[in-house]
């Protein structure tokens, strides 16, 4: 009996105080994925990587928008989104108090605009992504200036193809030989 009491006193209380006091958590615990919607350029890499499709990026071509959405009720906290994000916009935090009373509260949405092609006017990629790529290209050293590169980036792939073919035909006419 005394032995037991002594053992109990020696061991102390193992129970954590939570929920009456905040719970201590290690820094690298897998908590809620925190999305920074300013850093994000809606490249959809996370949506492709996400195993249960908790992150989805549906396109609305008529409105010209792309919506980044996450459903915390489907997330399995695997960290694949953090692994693939090129602009460091999503990172698993330590937040774990995610229980809700209504299902809609588990969703988070952010709406982004698509870039309209400067030649034909059709939407082809998120505007932020186009600007991001143009700024990376502008770091390279060649004859085009950064502003020119941004202008070229704002042309859709179809118009670029058309332009390339026209250029090729002109070139071959000048050189007097036809491509076949």
């Amino acid at each position: 009996m005394f032995k037991t009491i002594k053992e109990v006193l020696r061991t102390g209380n193992a129970t954590v105080k939570y929920p009456f006091a905040p719970l201590e958590r290690p820094q690298d615990v897998r908590g809620k994925p925190e999305h920074n919607h300013v850093k994000c350029m809606v490249c959809s890499a996370c949506a492709v990587a996400c195993p249960p499709n908790a992150i989805q990026t549906p396109l609305d071509m008529r409105e010209g928008t792309k919506t980044w959405s996450i459903n915390y009720g489907r997330c399995v906290f695997c960290g694949r989104c953090e692994e693939v994000c090129p602009s460091k916009a999503i990172r698993l935090g330590t937040e774990f108090e995610l229980a809700v009373m209504t299902k809609e509260d588990m969703e988070e949405l952010c709406v982004y605009h698509l870039q309209a092609c400067t030649q034909c006017g059709s939407h082809f990629a998120p505007a932020k992504q186009v600007a991001y790529v143009a700024r990376i290209l502008a770091q390279g050293k060649d004859t085009n200036t950064a502003a020119q590169k941004l202008e070229y980036a704002k042309v859709c792939p179809k118009c670029k193809q058309k332009y390339d073919v026209q250029r090729l035909m002109e070139q071959s006419k000048e050189e007097g030989e036809w491509l076949c």
Binding site: D28, Q56, C75
Partner: protein
């Protein structure tokens, strides 16, 4: 939410679940219960086709460390004694009848908790052919506890919310891109090729999370160092107390020197 895979089967060939709705009187009794329930609730747990991870976490919630029994929460072996029904798993076709029987067996008013990513939305199994995709397809659900599996702390938070001890934190959020908003280019002063090569090396050496943290520190030192970048990097290395971190940072420095040497050679050739 948009449905990713659209099979386009005619709807008369698709079986639809009859979702149970509650009577007025039961809804009233339930809201009274939600207001007054503080302690001593009995749980019954039904696995409707999950991976069993959620069950293990429920049992670790009643261990001495998290001790759900200090709130009087007790696991019962029969739905007839239960105040709260916990449904885990994504509700497979074959578990529909057992789930219904447990629901009908529990006395009214009762609370239904959807437990885990599977219980909330179908989780990782959401597009499987034999799942209905979450408890709320069949019953009205009172509390959703996300997580795969929810940790004991997450579970206790869910119970505390159901018992009115804690407030709900997560809210639906909708935002939109501001006009002219630009995504910041990380470490713009460092050439793209150098940055990606260092990030890749760091990831190979110590994984995506600590690798990213270390390459961020490394490049911040590189960018702030200016002319004396190598000195500030050396300072970063000698400051690091963890020998593994020192090792990785030294490797990154070697990589950087090799890169700059090859780039200089390249420029000279041009």
């Amino acid at each position: 939410m948009a449905v990713l895979i659209d099979h386009e089967y005619p709807s008369r060939l698709q079986y639809k679940l009859d979702r149970i709705t509650l009577d007025e009187s039961i809804i009233k009794a339930k809201s009274a219960l939600l207001n007054s329930i503080k302690r001593s609730v009995y749980l019954y747990r039904i696995d409707c086709g999950g991976c069993n991870g959620c069950e293990i976490e429920i049992f670790s919630t009643i261990t001495p460390v998290f001790d759900a029994e200090r709130f009087g929460i007790k696991n019962t072996p029969s739905p007839r004694h239960a105040d709260i029904l916990i449904y885990t798993g994504s509700l497979t076709r074959s578990m529909r009848m057992p789930a219904l029987r447990a629901w009908q067996g529990a006395p009214d008013p009762k609370l239904v908790v959807s437990y885990g990513a599977c219980g909330c939305t179908g989780g990782i199994f959401h597009d499987n052919y034999c799942v209905w995709g979450g408890t709320d397809q069949l019953f009205p659900v009172d509390v959703y506890v996300p997580g795969c599996p929810p940790t004991p702390a997450q579970t206790i938070y869910g119970f505390a919310m159901a018992l009115g001890l804690l407030e709900q934190k997560l809210q639906r959020s909708t935002s939109a891109e501001l006009p002219g908003e630009l995504a910041p280019l990380p470490f713009e002063a460092i050439p793209y090729k150098v940055r990606t090569a260092i990030e890749r090396k760091a990831r190979v050496l110590s994984g995506y999370r600590s690798g990213k943290d270390m390459s961020n520190e490394f490049m911040a030192a590189l960018e702030s160092g200016g002319e004396d970048a190598l000195i500030s990097i050396q300072a970063l290395i000698s400051e690091a107390s963890d020998p593994r971190k020192r090792e990785v940072l030294t490797e990154l420095k070697t990589e950087l020197c090799a890169l700059t040497a090859s780039m200089e050679a390249c420029y000279e050739q041009q």
